[in-house]
Amino acid sequence: MNHDEKHQKPKTPTITLRKFTLSDVDAFMSWAADPRVTRFQRRDPYSDPADALAYITTHILPHPWYRAICIDNTPVGSISVKPAPGEDRHRASIGYRLAYDYWGKGIATEALKLTIKAAFEELDHLERLEAIADVDNPASQRVLEKAGFKEEGILRKYVRLKGETRDMVMFSFLVSDAV
């Protein structure tokens, strides 16, 4: 055993958020084509970059708030904020996905913290950010807690995911929960 080994937690790399462009399609595939990442998503992994390109074009580029999570300007994941429909514009939900090789380094937590700050600054009238995580996805629950989200309860049989009805943990971050 090497007693000289320093048992320090590796530092989270510096991450930035930016808008997607069509040329990000290959980077996008690095998580969107990975079943380990899409496990808790409604969609199946992409196999054809053409489908990914169509998704970037029709869903990501026109989206009200969708960002690439970047290390050295290279996307390693994405994070999005979707305002609630209808009258409840004070409320928006967050979703995020990260390439598997970048899990466990604090990147998602950092991306969430940056997003929380930006969302409350940029989105008019926003007072509540919310996120749901599958009860069987403790890693995502921990990320949300570390970013300052508070668990509000378990919503049973809340969404359909790949043919199954899932229990989801609801989290919120209020404008009053200052970062």
Partner: protein, 180 residues
């Protein structure tokens, strides 16, 4: 006045609660709770002041609603109850809403109506697995209705809905037939 009815009311015997679809001819009864200032604070709509507006509301919202019923007491509408199903990946769930004229509060009528819905809705809506209801934290009466009907309180969603211009905390309740 019908003496039989008066006797029954005074002795607080359980009265027959039934559900049926609304008709436009129910407008006079609908107006009773729609125009009631004690009722509308709990709802997103404002108190109706004339029957023509209620008629329009019934034509545009009530009658076309996929699942809405009159709560009837001995055959006469005293309130309304609705189940609104979500779309797409959320089709497994639907939201329960109900309103009853204030003179009938506190008599178990709404609880009975909710139980009637629970007995029929999961058969009516294929694939429905969760019936949920969101209640203002200050609406203790409505929370009691759901608890007596067998719903589970799952948590408080803070600053969840805008109610009468104010961002409000809501209590989330649900009924899962396989669990409740």
């Amino acid at each position: 006045m019908d003496e039989q009815t008066t006797v029954i009311n005074r002795s607080r015997q359980p009265l027959t609660v039934t559900l049926r679809e609304f008709e436009l001819t129910d407008v006079d009864d609908y107006f009773v709770w729609a125009s009631d200032d004690r009722v509308s604070p709990w709802w997103r709509w404002d108190t109706f002041t004339n029957k023509e507006d209620v008629l329009t509301f019934m034509e545009e919202t009530v009658l076309p609603h996929p699942w809405m019923r009159a709560i009837c007491l001995d055959g006469r509408p005293v309130g309304a109850i609705s189940v609104t199903r979500r779309t797409a990946e959320h089709q497994c769930r639907a939201e329960l809403g109900y309103v009853i004229a204030s003179q009938y509060w506190g008599r178990g009528i709404t609880t009975e109506a909710v139980k009637l819905v629970l007995g029929t809705i999961f058969g009516d809506m294929e694939g429905l697995e969760r019936l949920e209801a969101l209640v203002l934290v200050q609406n203790v009466g409505s929370q009691k209705v759901l608890e007596k009907a067998g719903f589970t309180k799952e948590g408080i969603l803070k600053k969840y809905l805008i109610h009468k211009g104010k961002i409000s905390d809501m209590v989330m309740y649900s009924f899962i037939p396989s669990e409740n």
